[in-house]
Symmetry: C2
Subunit: 536 residues, 2 copies
């Protein structure tokens, strides 16, 4: 068992990431956005921290005593700074509310268990005292997944898993590692690098998201073509529930009934708290290479991705930007804008693997009408790919609304779904009352043999009520996804924000099954109210 | 929508497969077995079909009328021949009972719905009239999965899905096909070949097993290295349950909560009846090549398989026989026996793919101490690989017990698990009372990055009570698997036979979850009693 030497810093209370990495909007971006949206940008700074409105903590004394008995008195905290930093995730609505000084949804306390048994103790105490409990990893949810909802209970606590921070086991023969769930990715990677290994899991939230969060939300990283989705990497897991401990995964594959791993993966803290996962690891890549390709349009680039997805030698990373995203990315990196659609492909592995994959990909891409493009922009993408959330903060600080959403579908349905989502977003966001038009851009990524994901970025004038403005756009996009055969989330999960579409996603009987599992594992219903499963 | 032109014949009532393919024990095998076991082989023919004992059909008239209303009167049958052929699966105990004239477990009737809605109608009728209902695909279960247990109800019907026999849709862009579940594999392949495609799913039961059976039991084929397990191929599925229809799988991958596909895959007819699956298909391979390699021992061959499992260019098929299986296979094919362990690797794909994979595999295998071996035995293996069950029938007819069982675990645990299972089987089967010693042989196959499966074949003197003899061996092996970190089944499923180990497999809370799902989807509890989920 080992813990990381370097710990990831806490995130800002009103913005993404490390406050030291925040930066104002570059002038070039400011000019580009102002021109594209047709609005003048004005500073909209957040309120000061001491002006944020938090409710009085409402945890009854017997509940507090039970929690203190479970985790130790020092590990139950209700100071304002701690509560504020557990008041939700990092969606644009979360940040807009926080920037405006609204932390009315703060938890009544935050508890910090040290291990699996203490998590069991917390769940027992919350069930007995009827206190809602919200599992909290990195706090990076962009779908309201860690919103401290009370769900009819008198109080709610956040269950912060940061003390579960150990590499429990490393099995070099099976190439698996058992990790506690509170590890942030750089911490987990530091521990694995000590054994010459990596997870290869690189979502945009990489620097702050936790191993447990990945499992609970079915996270997918930018290198999914090579390393797989996080749910694919999980060989076994342990979860603490109010009804006791669940352990699943006795073999890499099994025919011993339904796969209960797949019931806990994606369960978003409503069934229990995943405390430990055994995941597949790979050797640290000895070589890495990125390329950029250009395609005349999205259709040609999509056909090329489809070819890559079916190759045994597919790239580690592959993403195709539409014309608008291609233009914006070029502008952001200071490169000369070129017509058409840019594709980035990346390759990790041994030198021989990378060479073989590059050659195979080049055959597919050239065969589909692609041409090699300037790779400067690719280096820029790789060096800045975790920085987009900081850029969003700078835009919010300049009165510009910016948010993302995503879906996935079959290759055959991709173009129709894309058209429907674009129409929904533009229809909701464009309009005289907003004082300007929206930028809607998209990339196709996370390729599978049968389909791919679509990832949208929206930049729009904030208008007088940006929360209402985004809510309308999100509703329109979600309805379009549900009506046009997409999944309501490919890798952001459900949380509170996608819950209205879960009945469409899994049907009324699917919802009934989820409720039945919930009642079995969490009879008091205290776990993460208001998430994932629609209300009766 | 299209149905196959050629239908697969019905299987024998007391043996595997097509009665026309049955053959007596070859003299060479007879001599080999007699010598190895140290017993004299004597004919033990089955009873005549008209001497088989079936109970009187006990379906109450109101239930029969409701079923006739659901599927039409001609599609409810209770003649002895039909009931006998739905009296269970094809495990050795099943065959021993049938050969001895015991069909006391025959269903009271067999119903043949035409489509999804008729399946719903049958489930509704059975729930209303409290009649147990056993979904029946190809009837190839070797774990008691289609045993017509009454489960406390007064009657039981088999629900034969053979009329659900259509290719519903083919999507060339997404490379998926939607198949009804009653299609036997050669029928499905005939329909897919019309579009230049294949499933590539080749379990030993290939000729008679159905698409629905594969989904309901998480089947794995001999080409799993190239085409994946059947549960990996399923993009979407539709199931009829007593509570209504479940449809899952809106995208190739999703973060919209738990993966309910994985709850229905492997559900073995206890939650509902899968009626349609959308599966990944591949182009028919233009090239195919098999190779044989030899390794000094199982440890060296296993290390080689581990290397193959982690290669991007892994073989379509890979299996390593232990020394005994290597010797027996050589003897069966008339080849000269060589020392050590034989590995078969096969490659399907485009000519370029096959060449690249062969080269990559050769590097791994030679690097792990393998040497190329005679390929004559490989051709023999490919041409006869679906014939082992016929050989089992010939052995049973000569008074020799023969059966298989399997498990899977991590690479690190493979040798320890193997030793424990061998010791358990030999301990239970060897002994003075049996009049001879058992042959226990094994192959390692179905390789994954984190582990592999172990597949045992046992040949032993039948003794006076072969059913009791096998029951003791099976119990010892199952206990050894559960105690040594294996899964109770890698690809045979749970059925009735593995149910005693399900609590060890998924834990008491896992069992509670399965029961909760069952209560939601099958409130009357009529679906496939006595399978998968342990009794309260």
């Amino acid at each position: 068992m080992s813990s990381p030497a370097h710990r990831v810093p806490d995130m800002s209370w009103f913005a993404w990431g490390d406050p030291e990495h925040a930066a104002p909007l570059p002038d070039s971006v400011r000019d580009l956005v102002a021109q594209a949206l047709g609005v003048e940008l004005r500073p909209r700074p957040p309120v000061a921290e001491d002006a944020v409105r938090l409710p009085e903590p409402a945890l009854p004394e017997p509940a507090r005593a039970a929690l203190a008995a479970a985790v130790g008195p020092r590990n139950v905290r209700d100071d304002a700074a701690t509560r504020l930093r557990h008041s939700g995730g990092k969606s644009t609505p979360d940040l807009l509310r926080r920037r405006a000084g609204d932390a009315s949804d703060a938890p009544d306390a935050v508890v910090y268990p040290a291990d699996h048994d203490q998590v069991l103790g917390v769940l027992e105490a919350c069930s007995a005292h009827r206190v809602a409990v919200v599992p909290f990893g990195g706090g990076t949810s962009v779908v309201g997944g860690v919103e401290p909802e009370r769900g009819g209970f008198g109080a709610v606590v956040a269950l912060d898993l940061r003390r579960l921070d150990r590499l429990v086991a490393y099995d070099p023969e099976s190439m698996t590692a058992t990790l506690q769930v509170g590890l942030r990715t750089p911490e987990a990677e530091e521990l694995l690098a000590g054994h010459g290994c990596t997870l290869g899991h690189l979502p945009q939230s990489y620097e702050f998201a936790t191993i447990g969060g990945y499992a609970a939300t079915r996270s997918t990283g930018q290198a999914s073509g090579g390393y797989g989705r996080f749910d694919d990497m999980v060989v076994a897991l342990t979860a603490a529930t109010p009804s006791g401990t669940v352990r699943t995964g006795r073999a890499p594959a099994s025919a011993a009934g339904p796969d209960l791993r797949q019931l806990l993966l994606g369960s978003e803290g409503v069934f229990g708290v995943i405390t430990e996962v055994t995941v597949r690891v790979r050797p640290l890549p000895e070589a890495r290479h990125d390329e950029a390709w250009s395609f005349p349009d999205v259709a040609a680039g999509t056909a090329a991705l489809r070819g890559l997805a079916r190759s045994a030698l597919r790239p580690t990373t592959a993403r195709l930007s539409d014309e608008t995203e291609t233009f914006v990315n070029a502008a952001l990196s200071g490169a000369r804008a070129e017509p058409g659609c840019r594709m980035v492909v990346g390759f990790d592995g041994t030198a021989a693997d990378v060479a073989a994959r590059r050659a195979a990909a080049a055959d597919v891409l050239a065969g589909a009408g692609g041409t090699r493009a300037d790779t400067e922009a690719v280096r820029e993408w790789r060096s800045s790919r975790f920085h987009a959330p900081y850029l969003r903060d700078a835009l919010l600080g300049a009165g510009v609304l910016s948010e993302t959403l995503e879906t996935a579908t079959s290759w055959a349905n991709l173009a129709a779904l894309d058209a429907a989502v674009r129409a929904a977003l533009s229809g909701a966001l464009d309009g005289a009352d907003a004082g300007g038009s929206a930028i809607v851009m998209c990339h196709v990524s996370h390729i599978y043999p049968a389909g791919a994901s679509l990832y949208y970025t929206v930049v729009a004038p904030a208008g007088a009520d940006p929360l209402a403005r985004w809510a309308a756009a999100k509703r329109a996009a979600g309805d379009a996804i549900a009506a046009n055969g997409g999944t309501i989330s490919h890798h952001h999960a459900v949380g509170a924000d996608h819950r209205p579409w879960m009945a469409a996603e899994v049907g009324p009987l699917g919802v009934a099954v989820l409720r039945a599992v919930k009642r079995t594992l969490d009879p008091a219903g205290v776990l993460n109210p208001g998430k994932l499963i629609p209300d009766d």
